[in-house]
Symmetry: C2
Subunit: 335 residues, 2 copies
Amino acid sequence: MRHRLKDVAERAGVSVKTVSNVVNGYVHVRPDTRARVEEAIAELNYRPNLSARNLRKGRTGVIALAVPELDIPYFAELARHVVTAAAALGWTVLIDQTGGVREQERVVASGITDHLIDGLIFSPLALTADDLTNLDGTPMVLLGERVDHGPADHVVIDNVAAAREITTHLVGLGRRRIAAIGSQRTPEGASARLRLDGYRSALEEAGLGYDETLVAPAPAWHRADGAAAMRALLTSGVRPDAVFCFNDTLALGALRALHEAGLRVPDDVAVAGFDGIEDGRFSVPTLTTIAPDKERIARLAVELLANRIDGDRTAPARELSAPYRLEPRESTKGR
Amino acid sequence: MRHRLKDVAERAGVSVKTVSNVVNGYVHVRPDTRARVEEAIAELNYRPNLSARNLRKGRTGVIALAVPELDIPYFAELARHVVTAAAALGWTVLIDQTGGVREQERVVASGITDHLIDGLIFSPLALTADDLTNLDGTPMVLLGERVDHGPADHVVIDNVAAAREITTHLVGLGRRRIAAIGSQRTPEGASARLRLDGYRSALEEAGLGYDETLVAPAPAWHRADGAAAMRALLTSGVRPDAVFCFNDTLALGALRALHEAGLRVPDDVAVAGFDGIEDGRFSVPTLTTIAPDKERIARLAVELLANRIDGDRTAPARELSAPYRLEPRESTKGR
DNA sequence: AACGTTGACTACAACGTTGTAGAAACCAGG
DNA sequence: CCTGGTTTCTACAACGTTGTAGTCAACGTT
C-alpha cells in the first residue's frame, strides 16, 4: 500500500503543504505539529514519490555513468569510485553500458537525456565531436581522451606522458626490442593513438627507433585480444624482449600467451600494462602498470558535473587532469 | 532548450493529446496529421519528459540491480547480463552497490522503493528475512542463497550439489588432503555455508573424512583474502594436495600465494574455484571452476520481476533454479 | 432519410509534489 | 491599543504527461 502526502496530512490533521514542509525540513513548523506529522509519516511508512518531486522540481537527483563495458575491470573500478563520489553529493548513479559501439554511444549522449537524468559522465570509445552537438544542454563530463575539443567538460590523464614513462622504464631495464600491443586504426582508437605516440617518442628519445613490425593491433582490449596479439608477435619471429600493452587486460592475455609459448616473464620478455587494475597485483607474475588515480578522476568528474548542473551552463568547457603513478612489479623486474 | 507536448502541438496545429497519441503510436491518427506532428517533433527535437510520464503512469521503466561490489568480476558479469535481459523488455537498469553491508542492504531493500524504480533484483550478502518485510510491495527478486524462505521470488543455483561436484572432481584426481578456502561464520555467510556443506558431503562420500584444520576462513572473498588464507594454510603445516576455493577471486589469490611459496599448480597442489569468471580462462595456470549460467540467471530474474510488476503481486513466491557447469582447466590437470 | 458505427480529434482532469501568495495568530515596542 | 514584523499554517496553481469522456464528421446499412 502506497501513501501520499494527502494521506499523511489527513492523519495528522494538517494541510498537505505542512507535511511537505516537514518532509523537506522547513524550519517554521511548531515542534508539536512536526511531531504529529512525523508520527503519521512513520505509521503510514510514507515515502515521497520521486517522479512527482522530479516533475515539480525539474531535477531527478540521478546522474548517468556511461562506460563501454562493466566487466572490463578498469571501468568497474572506476564505476565504484563514481558511485561513491556521487553519493557524497546525494546523487544516485545510473550505469549504462554502451559496448563501445558508436551508435549506442550516440543514443546515450543524446537520447538518454529524457529528463531522467540531471547529467552524464561519459567514457566514450567511438564518439566524435559531431555526435556531441545535439545535447539539449544536458550537462556532460567526458572521461579519457579529448574528443576533438568537443564542447564538454573533460577529465583526462596525460596518456602520452604516461606511455612514454612506462616505455622508458622498459628501456631502463636494458630492453632493446620493445613491442607494443593494442594499436588501433579506427576513430575509436583515440587512447590507442596517444599511448602509441608516447611509446614511440620514448623509443626515439632512447635512440632505439620505431619498428612497425613490433606493434601489434588489437581490435578490442580484452584478455583474449592480448593473448592473440602476443601469439601473432611470437609467430612473426620478431622476438621482442619486452612488451608494452595499452591496457592491463591485454597484458594479462599476453602473459598467458607467453606462458603457453614457454617463455618466462620477465626473464625472457618483460611485460607492462596500463590502468592499474586490481588483478595485476595477483597475477603470476604481478603486473607492472600505469595506475591512474581513479578516485581522483571520479571525484573531479562528479565535481565538474555538479558545477554544470547547479551553476553556469554556458561557461566555457574545462579540462582537468588527474595524476597517475608508474607501479613497477614482477613482470618487469631486472634480470 | 527543452520543449513540451504543448510546443509541438502549437507548431503542428493540433491538440496536445494528438501529439501524445502520435508519440505513443496510437493508430487512429490521419497520416497527414501524423506527418505534420512528426515534423514538428523533429524540428523541436522534442523528447518526452519521463518524470511526467512516470508520474502519470505510475511506472518508471527503471529496475534496480543491487549487488555487493561491482569490481568483483562475478557481479560485473552478472550485471552485464541483467542489463541486456532488461533492455530486451524496454527497461533501464540502475545498478546499486551495497558493499555487502547489512545496513546498506536494508536501505536498498526498503528505502530505494521511492517510486523511482518499478522493481529490484537483489543479490544480498548480509540480509535476513526480517529485513525484507517492509517493502511496500515493490516487486523484488533475490539472487543467490535463499534468505530463510523470505517472501520474495528467488533465482538460485544448487550450491551444495555444485560444491560436491567440484570436490568430487578433486577426489577423482587422486587428491586426498583437500583444503577449502572461504568459510565464514557470520550470518552473511549463507553461500559459504552451503558450499562448505557440499564440500563436506563429497569428502564423506569418498570416505575421506572432514578435517577442520583444512578449512580456512576468509572474511571477504577478494583476491587478497584468498592469498592470505592460502598462506595461513601453508604455514600451519597441514600440507594440502588440493584446494577448493569458494569463489574464483579467492582462487586467484590462492594461486598467487602458492606461486610465492614455490609450489606448483596443479603438480603440488590442485586448485579449484567457483563462479566461472573470465579471468580464470587466462590466469597462469587457467582455473578449474563451477560456472553458473549467468545469462540464464539474469534472464530468469528479469522474467520473474516482469511477472511481478505486470501480474499478480500477491501470488506465492517462486523459486527458480539455474544450471551450472563444471569447467576443468589446467589448475586441476591430472599429474 | 434515419440510424448506428467508426475514425479522428479535443477538452479536461488527474498523477503527487512544491513554490507562491497570503491569512491568521502571535509578539514586541511605542 | 495600535503598528509592523515574524511565525505558522493553508489554498491554489503548476510541473508535463496520459486516460476518459466526449464532439463531430463520414460512412454504410436498413
